[in-house]
């Protein structure tokens, strides 16, 4: 097995996973080889081991107070609280419901004889298109008790809105998802509201581009670059999530200023330096469907676990 030389910062950043045996065997071997020759990394890994061993040590057990009577009294006395959505998901629920109502209204009022005008900058909203409201419930675990709120800010947000392209007349193209329910005037461009599937933020201490190994590391250039203001154009709005380590993804982005579409293939791996370590968070926006391209929204079928793509290093 070819052992690739690892850098100290990378070894130290993977210390806890190495100690837990969570890394692929190849990576474990690389780290072992590095530790054999690097005293400073050995000391660092040993310090990590001491800390994690303290966590793993047997814990003191404390006798719980007896609150059974109080529990029963409160359970009988308190009214059941309704399920409350976190504000960001509440916004999604409201937007999704409004969109659904608007689409249904369009479906009822749509006249098939109405001429459809197609132009490079106009996309007609499909009158009969089911747009499911974003999922606002918590993960696929049933029996979520009523009144419980979601736990943290890192929870998964609404799933991407996927709408099958309806069969229409050939000249009509439907972008998906379509957050704006109203049918625009033919001469007016559609203003896209970003539908963010994943939000990624740049890790400040990413390595210089020259340090990035294209076959395995996250592309620092992707996070650093954005020469066309792609990062600047992205907005954090709604769903928040991160891409896990050791995975390949294809992210398609649009620059709202000029409609330019970029496809980024990313392979994520813990990289040295910085906090948070290794996971690049980025934002993705839908792509405008135009007649002269065949691009479709980034939210169609792009799912982190479905994509297997080579790494693209920009710049």
């Amino acid at each position: 097995m070819k052992v690739i030389e690892m850098k100290c910062k990378q070894v130290c950043s993977l210390a806890s996973e190495y100690l837990a045996g969570d890394l692929p065997e190849g990576k474990q071997a690389e780290i072992r080889a590095h530790l054999a020759d690097c005293e400073s990394c050995r000391a660092d890994v040993e310090a990590t081991d001491r800390a994690l061993s303290a966590l793993r040590a047997p814990r003191a057990v404390f006798e719980p107070p007896d609150v059974l009577a109080e529990v029963k009294r409160r359970a009988a006395a308190e009214p059941v609280r309704g399920f409350r959505l976190r504000p960001v998901f509440a916004a999604w629920a409201v937007a999704g419901t409004a969109a659904l109502i608007a689409v249904l209204w369009l479906a009822l009022s749509w006249n098939p004889t109405t001429p459809v005008v197609n132009s490079p900058s106009v996309v007609t909203a499909p009158p009969a298109q089911h747009i499911p409201a974003p999922e606002v419930a918590n993960p696929p675990v049933e029996d979520v008790p009523a009144g419980s709120e979601t736990v943290t800010a890192d929870e998964p947000g609404p799933a991407s809105v996927k709408t099958p392209a309806p069969k229409r007349k050939p000249r009509v193209r439907s972008p998906r998802p379509q957050p704006t329910p109203s049918v625009p005037e033919p001469a007016d461009p559609i203003e896209y509201e970003p539908t963010v599937e994943y939000i990624m933020v740049y890790t400040p201490d990413m390595p210089e581009p020259s340090d990035v190994r294209p076959e395995s590391d996250v592309s620092a250039d992707m996070a650093l670059a954005s020469p066309d203001g792609l990062i600047g154009a992205a907005t954090a709005n709604g769903y928040e999530g991160t891409l896990p380590d050791n995975s390949s993804y294809s992210i398609r982005m649009v620059d709202n200023a000029n409609g330019e579409i970029t496809t980024l293939n990313v392979y994520t791996e813990t990289v040295p330096g910085g906090e948070p370590n290794g996971v690049i968070e980025y934002s993705v926006m839908p792509i405008a469907a135009t007649p002269d391209t065949d691009e479709r929204s980034s939210t169609d079928g792009t799912h982190p676990h479905d994509i297997s793509a080579p790494v693209l290093v920009l710049g």
């Binding site: 310090a47 006798e63 609150v67 419980s148 736990v151 890192d154 290794g278």
Partner: protein, 190 residues
């Protein structure tokens, strides 16, 4: 890569928690007492690990069992009962933390010496709990669930309400943060 054991699906008829739930739902209130006796210690100690002081842990534990009492009829057994209970407990802990204008955990760890089942090294126990309290609640929570309760990644994901991958990422960051704080605490004591 440790993915952890999968969550138990469809608890069988022999599962005692499920039997007690069924008894409670069918009207036998005493079944809830049994469930309380069985799970109160784990819930309390989990809350204590996350919140860092006995008073808040008591409140969170009480809130958890109140919620449990009212939600038992809806439990279908698709996940392990204890995992479901932990999920409620974690939610109640985070509710408590979020409900404070500025969350401050108690600096006093005198209660550590009052354990029903103490450990040999009280100083180590104190240093671990003190370091945990320095961390942000999200990190503390996953560390407690992973190391205090020995839950799998899948079970932690279920408790916390995120994906297994996100649990891995958060644990990675939490371990790093813990190690940094723990090291600093060690140096201060020396």
């Amino acid at each position: 890569m440790r993915l952890g054991s999968s969550v138990e699906m469809n608890a069988g008829p022999g599962d005692s928690d499920m039997s007690l739930v069924a008894e409670f739902v069918s009207g036998r209130a005493a079944a809830f007492d049994r469930l309380y006796e069985r799970h109160s210690a784990q819930v309390y100690n989990t809350c204590l690990g996350i919140l860092g002081n006995p008073e808040d842990a008591r409140d969170a534990m009480q809130d958890t069992f109140v919620q449990l009492y009212r939600s038992l009829p809806g439990f279908k057994g698709k996940s392990r009962f204890s995992t479901w209970v932990y999920r409620i407990a974690v939610n109640k802990c985070m509710d408590l933390i979020r409900g404070r204008p500025r969350w401050e955990s108690s600096d006093s760890l005198e209660w550590v010496g009052d354990a029903e089942r103490p450990v040999g090294n009280l100083l180590l126990e104190e240093s671990v709990r003190r370091a945990l309290l320095e961390l942000k609640p999200d990190y503390r929570m996953v560390l407690v669930l992973c190391y205090f309760r020995q839950l799998s990644y899948a079970e932690i994901a279920e408790c916390v309400g995120c994906s297994i991958e996100q649990v891995r990422v958060r644990l990675h960051r939490a371990r790093k943060a813990f190690r940094k704080v723990y090291d600093e605490g060690d140096r201060n004591e020396v």
